[in-house]
């Protein structure tokens, strides 16, 4: 098997995640889809790391995880406070910016 297949898998997962972000209204699910995209990227990094024979790709994936963790913490806090004020977790309800 060609290890490039890992990249194809990463691309596929990333696309699925992106599409999910676009079509789901529940903010939590949208967030999960974002996580899915991040994980797809991490897979690609790890695969690259293996191809190039050095650990830099893994380091980047590691940092991605850290940043993702921070992002999840803040993002979920936002969702909670949003739900608290609007009694809804739908991203479409937060549409006051339109004209």
């Amino acid at each position: 098997m060609n290890p490039v297949n890992y990249l194809y898998l990463a691309a596929l997962l990333f696309t699925i995640g992106a599409t999910g972000v676009l079509i789901r209204r529940n903010a939590i699910v949208v967030f999960m889809c974002v996580e899915l995209m991040l994980n797809a990227c991490n897979l690609a990094f790890v695969a690259f790391s293996r191809m190039h024979g050095n650990l830099d790709g893994q380091i980047i994936a590691f940092f991605t995880m850290v940043v993702a963790a921070a992002e999840v913490v803040v993002g979920l806090a936002i969702i909670v406070s949003l739900f608290r004020t609007r009694h809804s977790a739908s991203v479409d309800d937060a549409s006051l910016m339109k004209l």
């Binding site: 699925i16 899915l36 994936a61």
Partner: protein, 282 residues
């Protein structure tokens, strides 16, 4: 000849190929379920499955440390955080997958499709000729290798991510923290207020006692047979998660009467009585 050599260099063991195809399929299915499951809880579980598969892939690719971190931190911590929030927002609330923004779904699918094709095309056309493997890099152990990099080359980035995490933690606290603007009233004060208003002086009634469900979400019945919302907690009331089982007993009774009537060949009871019972159940 060279072709064969290249192929040899590119290919991996059959076991890994088998693992890739099986687990890859699982991962894609998990991802799709994440997107298309109606309930957020199911989505979260599917995502956790996908992440575990990815952790296995990390391990396969020589990223032992990341594989473990993926399971412990991502699947273990982050996904649990998700689940907590899902609980907070409402486990059973199912989203409607019906699109409300005109054209959004088609545009999203179009973009996704185009994006995927472009990515796949880009990877297919990339000149990924070298395939070195991590044997040399992991010679002293994967964790030691990563540590050597993190604490030398990437030390500034590492420190910065530490600052980022602290900031995120403080940010989350600030966002979710609700400052009290007035002193919380004591139980005595609350009791006095209830007496003064003369409204619901005794404790609130208990919820339904049919031991057939998670009884907290079932309203208790008043003496005339109607359910009372007061018996269910305010959170469930606001979420609209009160289950009404008042008709079930009557329906069960009716079915029992029906069966005994068939057995004993009696005439059915008066329709008027039945109607009254139905109205009461509403």
């Amino acid at each position: 000849m060279t072709q064969q050599l290249e192929l040899a260099a590119y290919s991996t063991s059959t076991g890994e190929a088998f693992q890739f195809w099986v687990l890859g399929t699982v991962a894609v299915i998990g991802a799709l379920c994440t997107v298309f499951m109606k309930k957020a809880v199911h989505s979260a579980l599917c995502l956790a499955g996908t992440m575990i598969v990815l952790a296995v892939f990390y391990l396969t690719n020589g990223a032992y440390f990341l594989g473990i971190v993926q399971i412990v931190v991502y699947t273990g911590a982050i996904m649990m955080l998700f689940l907590f929030v899902v609980m907070l927002v409402g486990v059973t609330a199912a989203d409607s997958l019906k699109e409300t923004i005109k054209g959004q779904r088609w545009l999203a699918l179009l973009c996704g499709l185009g994006f995927g094709i472009l990515l796949v095309g880009g990877i297919g056309n990339a000149s990924l000729k070298e395939f070195n493997g991590l044997g040399q890099a992991n010679a002293n152990g994967n964790v030691e290798g990563l540590a050597a990099l993190i604490f030398t080359k990437y030390v500034y980035a590492f420190e910065l991510t530490g600052a980022l995490l602290i900031t995120a933690a403080v940010g989350a606290m600030v966002l979710t923290h609700k400052e009290r603007t007035e002193r919380a009233r004591t139980q005595r004060e609350l009791a006095e207020q209830r007496v003064r208003e003369g409204k619901q002086v005794p404790p609130l009634p208990a919820p339904g006692v049919y031991a057939r469900h998670n009884a907290v979400d079932i309203a208790g019945l008043l003496p005339d047979g109607t359910p009372s919302d007061l018996t269910v907690s305010k959170t469930l009331r606001e979420r609209g998660q009160i289950r009404d089982v008042s008709a079930e007993a009557i329906n069960d009774l009716k079915a029992l009467e029906q069966r005994s009537a068939e057995r004993l060949e009696r005439t059915p009871i008066e329709p008027a009585n039945l109607k009254r019972a139905e109205e009461a159940s509403k």
